[in-house]
Symmetry: C3
Subunit: 309 residues, 3 copies
């Protein structure tokens, strides 16, 4: 299915298919180990699919998928990336063998740099609309996912990259003060949308969110941990091991009860975007089309280019 088609189809219905998956109650303990596979074998049978931007491997014995961002140089969330991300999540969500997903980066030093600014600069209104719908779609799928979602944040994660981590069930970050995370939109002269804010407030509370969003703060890993923005810090070489251990802990719970609990916790914030989705797109287009904002984004891109060279 083409990206645009997926995006449009989901947009038209206006309803997030949160419950299209049959209740997982009866597979609470995961699928039985395959008789063909000796227990303890390190290389489990594995289905994998890879597109341009994201690589996914599903370990059928554990029910855990590994999703790796591999879009150099900085895993920026372009329309293409977002669409692949949504499609990959949908595939996993509908795969009865999959119960959880670990999200990480295949690139060094960066988890994701956030929304691709080139998608928001000098494009048509139609493009802005399609792009923003894809951002919404990804968040609705990820924040509302029935899977256990663990972010293994192995590099910096500003703006939209931070949102991806915030939308998971649990965040583990490499214990490196050079890596930072935060919703730094204000630094660029733009404003995080209300559902970024809602997600953030759910995690760090109102006071910390208010200050961090107004200052557009990027918090070094240790500070992010102190604020509750990430749940745990581990040395970078232990990150994947820890993520697997956390995932196993979450998968020890019966899926059905865990999923209903997650929905109960997140529904109010998800519903708010679903109810205001078209309005939110219009607001984004109006805001991003302003000459002052376009100028600010161009200046920011210039600054990034100079930094590189």
């Amino acid at each position: 299915m083409a990206a645009a088609t997926l995006v449009r189809r989901l947009g038209r219905s206006g309803v997030l298919p949160l419950c299209c998956r049959p209740p997982a109650w009866d597979r609470a303990r995961g699928p039985p180990p395959s008789p063909l596979q000796p227990p303890g074998l390190p290389l489990a049978p594995c289905r994998s699919f890879s597109n341009n931007k994201i690589q996914v491997e599903l370990d059928e014995s554990s029910g855990v998928a590994m999703m790796k961002f591999k879009s150099p140089p900085v895993n920026s969330l372009s329309l293409e990336f977002l669409t692949e991300f949504s499609i990959s999540l949908e595939k996993l969500e509908n795969d009865r063998a999959c119960r959880g997903v670990i999200i990480t980066s295949a690139l060094p030093k960066i988890f994701s740099s956030g929304l691709d600014i080139t998608e928001m600069c000098g494009k048509s209104v139609e493009h802005y609309s399609e792009f923003w719908r894809a951002v919404q779609e990804l968040w609705l799928r990820l924040y509302g996912s029935n899977l256990v979602t663990v972010a293994a944040v192995n590099g910096s994660s500003p703006a939209g990259g931070c949102l991806v981590a915030l939308s998971c069930d649990y965040r583990i970050m490499a214990d490196n003060p050079k890596f930072s995370i935060g919703l730094n939109e204000a630094q660029l002269g733009i404003v995080a949308p209300f559902w970024f804010k809602d997600t953030f407030v759910n995690i760090v509370g109102h006071r910390i969110a208010e200050r961090s969003l107004q200052l557009g703060s990027l918090h070094p890993a240790p500070e992010a941990h102190r604020l509750g923005l990430v749940d745990e810090l581990v040395p970078e070489e232990k990150l994947m091991e820890k993520a697997a251990a956390v995932m196993a802990q979450w998968l020890a719970l019966p899926d059905h009860a865990r999923q209903l609990t997650k929905t109960m916790m997140r529904k109010a914030v998800l519903d708010r975007l679903v109810a205001h989705r078209e309005e939110d797109i219009k607001n984004f287009i109006t805001f991003i089309s302003k000459e002052s904002i376009q100028k600010s984004l161009r200046m920011y891109m210039e600054m990034l280019k100079k930094k590189k060279s």
Copy 2:
């Protein structure tokens, strides 16, 4: 009054009589000491009533009632227990001599094991309905109480036992890592209702509540204290002394201002259940009647039995 009658009467009105008590403004400093009682006498005049499951003693000189759960083996919240609990609270609430209540357990090692699973297993729809209404009733009375409510948590306190503690104004727990507390419903394959969740979020915030509820965590006392789930830890032998000191601190405030403040803080969450009470009962019945849930509860009870023997 029979339990069922009380429960039905309250249910029919659909309104919690939060304000049936005359304003306590003019007895802010407590009733004057009795002329018959020399000041400082250790044994204060005391009204006590005791039913099958709960013992209550009211010290008229201080205005403080002590409520002790004494339903072996684990103070589980059966229909009978819940009804006694509601009636006891109502009696104290309507007694002008009473300004606060300390809630604790008369049994060793357990505060309360939570809702009695036998009430939810293999019973009629009518029974489920009556049981659930009694759970709601207890919470509405306790969370909305005009009295100062202090939980002296002298043992483990899972699920509904945790809810009882969460619904008080202040929680002091015995500093023993073997005692744990938490809303562990997800471990049993069931889901804490929204008002358990609302009460929990009010105390520990959204992020901690989301993780703890999804994992069905039982937090050892020191961890519970770190998370804010209990306000204070003291050595077990100092628990009652500390509870009395905390109560005295709260009773130093004028009742009327304190009560209005408490109502202001808790009203939104109380109103939410009052508005959705019948719907919540229906949801409970539908959920608990599912064969998969019944099977899961039977398995859990089997597991508990094996553990004992």
Copy 3:
């Protein structure tokens, strides 16, 4: 403009002119330095205005105003003080040269003692109404201000004084355990209004707010810092230096993005008072007119007088 006129005009419209100021986007980096002023000159060109109760100095080179309460003995928020405060804020808000304000006290040991009790004691219903509208007005202006607002709390700050600090973007307090801060209304037998509560909950969360409000706690500076009630403690002699440094950090952000973010964070709580403003005034009048409340306030004032002599 006379105080009563301002208050009435604002009251009649029923709408807070949050957005009357043109977007500050294009002056994000502050106005250019005046050609007449050599860079680095310590005494910047400065517009100042001073009324009876409050002194304001605006440093045009930095865009930062200093607002000092100078109403002996304790900067209590009388009708006159509140009106001057609102007018001063309005002036700064409409001055394109001003981007932020530091609020502090010119008196030793006290930031502000809160609402002036004499305005609530033995006066007419009309007076109570006018007074309460002025309290609302001040909060709507301050909590909804487009300026960066930093409270430099250089003394104790009970009740309404605490509200002033809570309504700023950032609170720095002198590191002196003799200075305390809190919403201690319950100690006086009165109840903080819902919007005091909403502001407080936004800052310290529900559990801490519930306990602190019920007990009417005044938290010594170190405890206030632990609870998050103030953001930072510094030695008293460093307070203004630190406030200036924090202000510079906040002013490094583009005004427009910061203002929109602030509005997004605070709008729900501001809107709630705007929607219930007249009702809130009526409630205040009914409450404060009660003989029991009047008696309690008179007793409190007697106690304060005795304390002084």
